[in-house]
Amino acid sequence: MSRLLINIIRFILFILVQVFVLNKIPPLHQFIIPYLYFLFILWLPFTINRFLLLLAGFLLGLTLDYFTQTPGLHAACCTLIAYLRPFLLNLLLPQDAREQSYAEPSIRSMGWAPYSLYIVLLTAIHHIYLVLIEWLQFGDVWYFLGKITGTTAISLLLIFVTEMLFFRKARFRTNAM
């Protein structure tokens, strides 16, 4: 299957899981909404054009926004992490590893430590920005800090579980998209 098709299927699956499973879970606590959908952006191939990456992030966020009736909220966060992703990857990938031909970020292609750092940083940035926008609208410091901690922790747990459950075969870079 081509990379494009796989990513389109992933896009749809992530949105459906987010909207119809994770957003439907009765709240464990007032702070916690389990977010997982942005993993789509983190899993996009290394070689993707930066402009396409931005656009993919924007579309992903906007699609979720139309389901949750918050146009712009998730889209803003997703564009932010899509914009920061290439910089972070450049920092985290050892120079010689880029010569290696893995297609997308994963534990195997990057190694445990850099991959965890990559996931943790972008997850935290996503949630901080998300809660910040909400906070600017409503305003409450404890709410702000608590929500960031709570949501980030739950998201990281979910990502960990997802990585364990769906072991992605390490694909190699080809000329085909």
Partner: protein, 282 residues
């Protein structure tokens, strides 16, 4: 000129990023003011359709609760039937005289219709309920949504076959409410903290308030018929700086199991709202 193009080319990605961020913020800002999103009805139509598929599946899980609610409502209606009432004696037979009712002065103000909930959120800061009736079925903005147990929200967005109601669990929701006991009128809001608990403000401290008292919609509401159940008082707090209570109200409606709701149309809605607006602008 050449430098400008060079600058744009060099910073193309950054400029795109800034542009998208600005678009997002504008959308968010505009939506929080008007509740009208870009490509609104088209997006509503699509998400509504997908939500409907999901709700067709998930509705089975709440059937038991729905049955109970419907049975209770049936019971209430059955108790109002004419056959339940008997004249006090054969010599005083009560006859309903139709000519007594002056049809020119009694007109219908509220009309209810049935809708199914196809989308419902409870965990966000601003929660909405999607219904499977839209402008084609006569739904308009400002109509109120009432469940079998209590009120649910107000319609804020309508597409052809779907409509979206702002649920009581929404930061922007303000509904005029009164205490059943002494008719003091206040305003019901949600602080975004706990699902199923609302805040009733602006009830003067002179009012008699106790835990468990019913809170109903007031006569001043343009959307809701007066006297519909909102919830019961759960905790009584005093606001030391003002002369008002801050009451915590438990909603009568269980927002987790919403399935069938009634849409209430107020035939005088436009007239009342326009008059009030015109007065404000004077």
């Amino acid at each position: 000129m050449k430098n400008i193009f060079l600058f744009i080319r060099r910073n193309f990605n950054f400029l795109c990023f800034v542009l998208l961020q600005v678009v997002c913020i504008i959308m968010l800002k505009r939506y929080s003011e008007t509740h009208e999103a870009f490509f609104d009805s088209a997006a509503n139509e699509i998400t509504g359709r997908i939500n409907q598929q999901y709700s067709g599946f998930s509705s089975y899980f709440t059937l038991k609760e729905i049955n109970r609610q419907l049975a209770e409502q049936n019971l209430a209606l059955l108790n109002q039937q004419k056959a339940d009432f008997q004249a006090t004696g054969s010599q005083h037979k009560v006859v309903l005289d139709s000519s007594f009712r002056d049809s020119t002065h009694r007109t219908r103000r509220f009309l209810m219709s049935l809708a199914q909930v196809v989308g419902n959120s409870v965990v966000e800061q601003n929660n909405y309920v999607t219904l499977d009736k839209g402008s084609a079925q006569g739904v308009k903005k400002g109509m109120s949504v009432v469940g079998p147990e209590g009120i649910v929200g107000v319609i804020i967005n309508v597409s052809e076959n779907y409509s979206i109601a702002m649920s009581l669990l929404n930061r922007s929701s303000r509904i005029s409410a009164m205490l059943k006991k002494d008719k003091s009128v206040g305003s019901i809001e949600w602080d975004g903290n706990r699902t199923s608990y609302l805040t009733l403000k602006a009830i003067p401290k002179s009012a008699k308030v106790a835990r468990g008292d019913s809170v109903l919609t007031s006569m001043y509401s343009t959307n809701f018929p007066p006297g519909m159940m909102i919830g019961t008082i759960d905790a009584v707090n005093f606001d030391p700086s003002t002369n008002f209570f801050v009451l915590r109200v438990k909603t009568a409606t269980n927002f987790f199991t919403l399935q069938y709701v009634y849409l209430v149309e107020n035939f005088r809605y436009d007239e009342q709202v326009n008059l009030e607006k015109a007065t404000e602008n004077k």
